[in-house]
Amino acid sequence: MTPRFQKILFVVLFVSSVAMTAVLVRLRERAHDRLLQGDQTQGTSAPAVAPLEEVTMMVADDMTSTLAPETIALPLPDEPQARARSLLNRLLSQYSNAHSMHPLPTTTNPVEAVFLMPLSKTAPSHAGSVRDAAQSEDRIAIVNLSNPFAALHPSGLETETLTVLSICATLHANLPQVTEVRFLVGGEQQATLHGHADLTQTYLTAASAAASGAQP
């Protein structure tokens, strides 16, 4: 036999549960209404963007195996890493245009991230090396390419090399503090881009202007 006080407690709890459910459903409906009302009254002005800046893209040409500078205007973020990523994504996306001289398949965000890190120019054992590293403006850029970009990239010594050099030279042209570049694919080190161009090495951008066959 169930005691009477337990019956009363069960009824009270049951009624409370029903009441709370009703309140929650009503609150949800009101929140939904507020959201829809907000959508309808939201301003239609364009979001604020960074001003256009002139940048230099070092564009590859498979027919002549050269890089040619191309100046365009782009809105770029202020933060250097985001800036480098935007630059490289813009560079690689233009290779998927119909009349590109260095045709690459279309991929979304071929560069997932660019990390800029200070370069230590002195051996760690040297006195003052920490201070030297901190004061140096030279940076190494770690370019993290996406897996689909590497997988879909045409396979070949020349085409892969031109892609790598184009990235290095474009970074050098727009971010002079970047003197070295290393590559990752999908966040991990990969031996080659697609079977040919070596991605295990550190690439020096400082020598690019003098050593390149870039067309003025």
């Binding site: 027919m63 009349h99 070949g156 951008t205």
Partner: protein
């Protein structure tokens, strides 16, 4: 048409560690002039997929693996060179996998007068020549394995120039329109960087119309027998000239 390839980035010296060592080779007498032919890829590494349009894939019926094309070219070039009195060593004579160190080991043991690494691609047009981007270095008794080529880079550049010249003038009966478009560039090449012979990577691409856009219509595919013959004859002629230069006092 010859053009210089941009060498936009050099290889960081920091990455050039000395894990192994290799002894430099000396210039050899004419009768012992050895050429090493390295057909790139092989085994479970097919390389590029060729001959199936601009987006080849293994699923495409007409696609050919780069490893098969390079092996076929290596065997044809071997025959041409043997007929001209060369001693020829191939890094592989069948569809086997070889890593870059094994290829360099074969080349270094051969003490070759020239090492030719054969590649093939669908991208670009003509023949692309590549020499190691290592900075020249003085010969030493013991060389860092990963940068052994540094002592022979100057000779490799000369060999690249000789190949470039022969390919650029490879038109039949002196017809300039039939010359093979050739580019000469420098890049980091793990296999070649460990070789102690004058070494050049030769990448054969289809011949394309000189149209705007990097995908001009293909006029001669990589597996076109006539085109391959022209390329390989030009390479053989260049190596003959290179041997004569090496033999000159």
């Amino acid at each position: 048409m010859a053009a210089s390839l941009s060498a936009g980035c050099g290889v960081g010296a920091a990455a050039q560690t000395a894990a192994q060592t290799a002894a430099p080779s000396e210039t050899l007498p004419l009768r012992h002039f050895t050429v090493v032919l390295d057909a790139a890829h092989g085994g479970n590494d097919p390389g590029a997929w060729l001959g199936a349009g601009d987006s080849p894939s293994p699923e495409t019926q007409s696609a050919m693996a780069e490893k098969a094309v390079t092996l076929a070219m290596s065997q044809r070039l071997r025959a041409l060179l043997v007929a001209r009195g060369f001693t020829v060593i191939e890094t592989r004579q069948s569809d086997v996998a070889l890593d870059e160190d094994a290829r360099a080991t074969v080349a270094n043991h051969a003490q070759a007068g020239a090492c030719i690494v054969l590649h093939a691609t669908e991208a670009g047009s003509g023949v692309h020549l590549f020499v190691s981007s290592l900075s020249p270095a003085q010969p030493q008794l013991l060389l860092p394995w990963k940068t052994a080529q540094a002592t022979r880079v100057a000779e490799s550049l000369k060999l690249g120039g000789t190949l470039n010249s022969a390919l650029s003038t490879a038109g039949r009966d002196g017809e300039s329109s039939l010359a093979i478009p050739t580019t000469l560039g420098r890049t980091t090449l793990p296999g070649i960087d460990s070789m102690t012979c004058p070494a050049v990577a030769v990448e054969v691409a289809p011949l394309r119309e000189n149209a705007h856009g990097g995908t001009g219509k293909v006029t001669s595919a990589v597996d076109d027998a006539d085109y391959q013959t022209r390329v390989l004859n030009a390479l053989a002629a260049a190596l003959l000239a290179w041997r004569s230069e090496a033999a000159a006092p």
